[in-house]
């Protein structure tokens, strides 16, 4: 178990290092932008996956939390002179708290009912984002101006798109490490016992409510960081990007990619952002991606509950056992 974790960590580190060094060198300007978005959504998907894989709970409101993180980051960016990395972290922490707050009434629910409640939360924020828009350097609390030339800051060492891509990849790596530490430690054990049954967890002295909230808070933290990074990547956020339906898509892709490992979140991010961009590039409609997602979800539910990542990791393990 420890060896496996160790190996997985090593493979992850090497992959991260290669991606940080090589990808910005060889990908063109457009693809750097696309891959930056893909990495950001991989980060958000890892939060959805965490709650699903560790507790079996379905969270369709991640898209709303990304929006909240983005809103907070934009607000702080225009309203304060705080360093950008601090803003990203602050947005993550505040979003995590908000995520836990919304999870509180939903804790007694599971399955379809919890999914519906989270979808309603996503719909609520869809309306809020539409009504209040995202700050763009305007006056007052909401900070929205009709026409604004104000631009969002990026870290001094990551001003260019290539450098910002590297910045996002490092944030993604750190987030995966944070999840890994949780899984291997006390919260991971508490989540595992709860997953078996709540009675089992309580009989082991585990405060089930606390650890469920903790999972939602961690997932919210990752969504908040993703939102803040997205604001920095795009320079501005549009309310139309945070529709409740996108939350369903993000969850579905987290399952298709594989909710049980960091690799699955990477696949989710790539499917969500890279695949439609590739179709566009090939002169096809990006909507074809949606048809593929639907088929892939059916496939995942019926034959590959551990997603694409599970199939790949399974193939490697099989090869090893054949040796």
């Amino acid at each position: 178990m420890q060896l496996l974790t160790h190996k997985s960590t090593l493979v992850g580190l090497v992959a991260l290092l290669l991606a940080v060094i090589l990808l910005p060198m060889f990908a063109g300007a457009l693809w750097v932008k696309v891959l930056t978005s893909a990495a950001i959504f991989a980060l958000a998907a890892s939060g959805v996956s965490l709650v699903y894989a560790q507790l079996g709970l379905i969270n369709l409101a991640q898209i709303a939390l990304i929006g909240i993180g983005g809103w907070i980051a934009l607000r702080l960016n225009y309203g304060t002179a705080l360093p950008v990395t601090l803003i990203v972290l602050g947005s993550g922490i505040l979003t995590g708290l908000i995520g836990a707050l919304f999870a509180l009434p939903a804790l007694r629910m599971r399955g379809l009912y919890l999914a519906l409640v989270t979808l309603m939360v996503a719909a609520l924020f869809q309306i809020m984002f539409n009504a209040f828009q995202f700050p763009n350097g305007g006056e007052g609390f909401w900070g929205v101006a009709q026409k604004s030339a104000a631009s969002i800051r990026r870290p001094a060492f990551a001003e260019t798109d290539e450098a910002y891509f590297r910045y996002v990849l490092i944030a993604l790596g750190l987030s995966f490490a944070l999840i890994g530490l949780h899984k291997a430690g006390r919260p991971g054990r508490a989540w595992a016992m709860t997953r078996q049954s709540e009675a089992n967890a309580m009989a082991a002295g585990i405060n089930v409510t606390f650890y469920k909230l903790w999972a939602f808070a961690l997932s919210g933290l990752l969504a908040g960081i993703a939102g803040a990074l997205l604001a920095g990547a795009l320079g501005q956020l549009d309310a139309r990007s945070f529709l409740a339906g996108e939350g369903i898509l993000l969850f579905a892709l987290a399952v298709v990619g594989g909710a049980f490992s960091w690799l699955g979140a990477v696949f989710a991010g790539l499917l969500y952002k890279l695949l439609p961009a590739l179709f566009n590039d090939w002169g096809l409609s990006a909507d074809i991606a949606l048809i593929i997602f639907g088929g892939a979800l059916m496939h995942a539910i019926m034959t590959a509950p551990h997603g694409i990542a599970g199939q790949i990791l399974g193939a490697f393990n099989k090869e090893k056992s054949d040796d």
């Binding site: 054990r189 595992a192 997953r195 078996q196 309580m202 009989a203 082991a204 002295g205 585990i206 405060n207």
Partner: protein, 234 residues
């Protein structure tokens, strides 16, 4: 000394436990009764998994009913389940660590505590094996080891002998009788296996339709005509 006073549990119109009163002083006490008698409901009342309509369960001045379920475990209540609760992707050691997590045992003592519990039940060799790879006997022993770690005061064992072979049952007998001398905890054993109850329990309580129909020395209770009638339906 465990004092169960007027414990009543209702599921809608069904009275699952009807004002059960018991004083348990022996190290290992049996709890028997036909299906639906209320045995598991009584263990669930201990654990806080059912709403107790009335009554108290007091141990050395602490009323367990006042505590939240997970706090009862931290206080020293440990239990096993009729359907063994082993997480497939968690190692045997991690199962025990999960119990220690809540009890605030210092890191320096954790390794030793895990070793002691695993050694006692005789499964030190599978310490790092995943739950999914364990056979029924190893799963059962892991569950009992979970009950013994972190200084338990009361251990509730709900049908621990289910599915075990005769030699495994013999080991189980030794494990159960050694719990009080080794760990200082009182054991409440719920089982259908009258032979097991006779071998390890100094006293035994019998439930039928939610009521306590007999309690006393195990041999006397098992010889009681009322108990025989309830149990064997004669």
């Amino acid at each position: 000394m465990i004092e169960i006073q007027d414990i009543t549990v209702k599921f809608g119109g069904v009275v699952a436990l009807d004002q059960v009163t018991l004083k348990i002083a022996d190290d290992v006490v049996g709890l028997i009764g036909p299906n639906g008698a209320g045995k598991t409901t009584l263990t669930n009342a201990f654990s806080g998994f059912v709403n107790v309509a009335n009554g108290s369960i007091t141990v050395n001045g602490t009323n367990l009913i006042d505590l939240a379920p997970h706090l009862r475990t931290r206080w020293g209540l440990a239990r096993s389940f009729q359907k063994v609760q082993i997480v497939p992707d968690l190692s045997v050691e991690d199962h025990l660590k999960a119990v220690l997590d809540g009890k605030g045992i210092p890191a320096s003592q954790r390794k030793g505590a895990v070793s002691k519990a695993l050694e006692y039940v005789g499964i030190s060799d599978i310490r790092f094996r995943k739950g999914s790879t364990l056979n029924p006997y190893q799963r059962r022993m892991t569950e009992i080891a979970k009950c013994l770690i972190g200084a338990p005061r009361i251990v509730l064992l709900d049908e621990p002998g289910g599915g075990l072979s005769e030699s495994e049952m013999q080991h189980l007998r030794e494990v159960i009788t050694g719990i009080h001398p080794e760990f200082g905890a009182q054991v409440l054993l719920v089982d259908h296996d009258v032979d097991l109850i006779r071998d390890v329990c100094a006293s035994t309580a019998v439930l039928d339709f939610g009521k306590l129909i007999a309690f006393g020395q195990t041999d006397e209770v098992l010889a009681d005509e009322v108990v025989k009638t309830a149990y064997l339906g004669r």
